[in-house]
């Protein structure tokens, strides 16, 4: 279950960013996870729920967008979708899968967060 280690890495990276931003409330973290990686989104989701408890990310939503495996065949000059577990070579000319255009992503894409505005924290004396 390497997703626990992935989650640990994710939380550490987010913590650096969170501190640099004066510790805002993070409502949602958006990840991009390629189909041609060793990461299972459901396991990652579960690990995040458990490991974010009692941290600055408690209650933060994790949104995972999966990207398909897409390769480019230089011989045919076109993209194709390899069938993971069955066929990786180009279905037209059988050239090997060399140029992966999508599917290897493991990325923290963006973060939604909110900060208190001055009206919240400033108590005027009148």
């Amino acid at each position: 279950m390497h997703e626990t280690d992935m989650t640990k890495a994710l939380i550490a990276t987010l913590q650096d960013w969170w501190k640099a931003q004066s510790e805002p409330k993070i409502s949602c973290v958006h990840l991009v996870v390629g189909k041609f990686t060793c990461v299972e989104p459901l396991s990652l989701q579960f690990a995040f729920e458990v490991q974010s408890q009692n941290t600055f990310l408690e209650g933060t939503k994790l949104s995972i967008r999966e990207t398909p495996l897409i390769a480019f065949c230089h011989h045919c000059q076109q993209e194709y979708h390899p069938e993971i577990g069955i066929q990786y070579a180009c279905p037209q000319c059988h050239s090997p899968m060399e140029d992966i255009r999508s599917g290897r992503e493991l990325k923290i894409d963006r973060v939604e967060y909110s900060t208190n505005t001055i009206e919240d924290t400033y108590a005027p004396n009148f």
């Binding site: 280690d5 996870v33 060793c38 390899p82 577990g85 923290i108 505005t117 919240d120």
Partner: protein, 233 residues
């Protein structure tokens, strides 16, 4: 009143591990060490391959080993018989080595020895065909092993490992006559996703093919020496 924002980060999920791997690699380059990450499923023959390698090459090169296992020092003790430094790392419940663990290992090595004296560091990863492929440890090349008893379909089922490998050793070839296995099909399945990989068939039982593996290692070490000589001039 709250203001909501949306910040684009675009940071790799394994950013911290990759930074650690680059840090390790910078050390290896400074010391003139070539580091290989040796990976396979449990029981494919990593440790016996390293035994044969140490027996044959310790006269030619100064070699050190980092031995990753979830528990026990059984493998590390097998390799210590060859009088090379073997640093055992028990990963506990973790099913792979990461760059931080290997950093701890090279710290031990540098503490007890002069690391610049070494030519080759062999990192034997935890037996697993899945996540070691995603966690770089600072290696210059990835070596994967697949034994003939595992079947032709494994490269198709565990593609990331075989797509990332620079060298693939097909092991236990002495058993092939007793199995319904087509080694050329293993090779074809790997080449579908990794056409430039070097494939070497070996048997640690009969020693068949081991010389080809040793030559691959000699080449790797020599190209590293050539590189460091070039960088000095």
């Amino acid at each position: 009143m709250h203001q909501t924002f949306d910040a684009a980060l675009g940071i790799n999920l394994l950013h911290a591990n990759q930074q650690g791997a680059e840090h390790n690699r910078a050390h290896f380059d400074q010391w003139g060490i070539i580091c290989l990450n040796v990976m396979s499923s449990p029981g494919a023959g990593k440790t016996v391959l390293l035994e044969r390698t140490l027996a044959a090459l310790t006269n030619e090169f100064k070699i050190a080993v980092i031995e990753g296992d979830m528990t026990t020092e059984l493998d590390a003790n097998r390799l210590r018989q060859y009088n090379v430094p073997v640093i055992a790392i028990n990963t506990g419940r973790s099913c792979h080595l990461d760059s931080k663990m290997v950093a701890g290992g090279i710290h031990c090595l540098a503490h007890e020895y002069n690391p610049s004296d070494f030519d080759l560091l062999l990192v034997e990863n935890v037996g697993n065909l899945v996540c070691p492929a995603e966690f770089e440890v600072g290696e210059h090349a990835k070596v994967a092993l697949l034994s003939v008893t595992e079947g032709e379909d494994k490269p198709l089922k565990y593609p990331v490992m075989f797509q990332e490998a620079d060298c693939l050793l097909i092991t236990k070839t002495d058993l092939a006559p007793y199995l319904e296995i087509d080694i050329s099909q293993i090779e074809a399945n790997v080449r579908q996703m990794n056409p430039h990989v070097t494939i070497i068939q070996v048997s640690a039982k009969t020693n068949d093919g081991l010389e080809n593996w040793f030559n691959w290692l000699r080449n790797a070490v020599q190209s590293n020496t050539a590189k460091s000589v070039m960088s000095l001039t």
